[in-house]
Symmetry: C2
Subunit: 282 residues, 2 copies
Amino acid sequence: MRLKVAIQGIKGSNHHQVAREYFDDDTELLECMSFDALVESLLNGTADKGVMAIENSIAGSIIPNYNLIYHNKLHVIGEHYLHINHNLMVLKGSAIADLSEVRSHPMALLQCKEFFRNYPQIKLVEDADTAEPAKRIQEEQLAHVAAIAPQVAAELYGLDIVAPNIQTIQNNATRFIIVQTKNKLVAQMDEKFSEDGVNKASVRFITDHKRGSLAAMLNVMSDCNLNLTKIQSLPIIETPWKYAFFVDITFEGFANFEKAKSLLNIMSEDFKVLGEYKNARL
Amino acid sequence: MRLKVAIQGIKGSNHHQVAREYFDDDTELLECMSFDALVESLLNGTADKGVMAIENSIAGSIIPNYNLIYHNKLHVIGEHYLHINHNLMVLKGSAIADLSEVRSHPMALLQCKEFFRNYPQIKLVEDADTAEPAKRIQEEQLAHVAAIAPQVAAELYGLDIVAPNIQTIQNNATRFIIVQTKNKLVAQMDEKFSEDGVNKASVRFITDHKRGSLAAMLNVMSDCNLNLTKIQSLPIIETPWKYAFFVDITFEGFANFEKAKSLLNIMSEDFKVLGEYKNARL
């Protein structure tokens, strides 16, 4: 049976690109129109694994996705960094001068807005996805509309790239995570879970507003030879002055992480490991 | 001369609501269609102060705004918390059953999507702002379109609220900051800057990826009796393995903060105080 992978957006999106790079070719893609729908497909078993954007070097974390993972008890089993290239693509035969409108995901528009300063006649219109407008341009033969999308979208939907890499900041990596339900994980673990290669973890914990409580947690991590690669505080909506922290850590020996876990678990409230996986960063 | 306050969005938006609550009534509002335009109005002197959403208890920080403040050397001079109520508003005479579309800011749509599960015939359409669709419904007499906007928008544009407070999470506070240019600040400081009442600061600094470097910074803060209310790491795009941290701290004595500043400045790179102001949280 082929692996079913849920992606956010349709084929031709950056999520599709990540699925292609992370998994073998022999997967079946499930297109989800929102991150909620993606999570739902994992929970109800329609998909085996999901690909989810989680942070961007420009805009920071996608906090709602952290909360989706936490609240639905999903498990992070891997990560993948995609170098995002935004390409301006049009119907074959169209040119930039013909355009009155460009459609894409709000983040893509934001990252390319400098490019469009020279084209004030082109209106930037937010869409739910990058690939979706590309598909629509072909289907509806829209000669005056462009999409900003990954190259794979131009290939799939037969569009011409009239301006490649139009993002202002060239060094634009987005981090994606691969998630699945805990049930699937347990079933797999019996067969083949191994600490081999596991050198990164994502954790969430709560501290009260006592002075130094976060510093104490970080001291333990440092003492156990863990490196922090990300930290993000988030107020607990229902309880003022309590904070949840989403922290990513890398480590060399799994034993170090095990030791830190025991300590951190005692020192904080609701300490949860969201995933233990292989660091994909070079 | 009346104080000129730049807001993101048009009158009737949450930014307008904050300007009303934070400043005296006798201010002139400058409507800006983006946060970039707002910053520009401060830099070129069109506006004296600006109101900027900076974090939301649901979606987290608005990182691009942190970067705007830092890169344009703006100074945070105050903060304000607004309890966000999303109201569904329509043309007088329309009812929910008449609606085919609801328009609002993507964040407002996200926060109300549970409500619309019961109305699958209503399409959710992203707009640049909350108040703008409200205004347009009145101007163009759109009987089948609703807006999700603050109450002030219904008042200003003569719409009926058919469903108040439709957000899923009721306890939804957004933090806004008040910013101005450093030049204005220096001019004012000569007259009247005082440490009185200043008990919160926003700082930004860079650490290298040496183990424990962030823990060391937090230890100093704790030793100097500072409380951390927010922390956010952000990779430095150009330099892998270097991280910028945006940190908010509260304190009781300004001298404690002064002492911490001297130490933190030595221990990190590019330590910058983005603002020293009065904590608005009860």
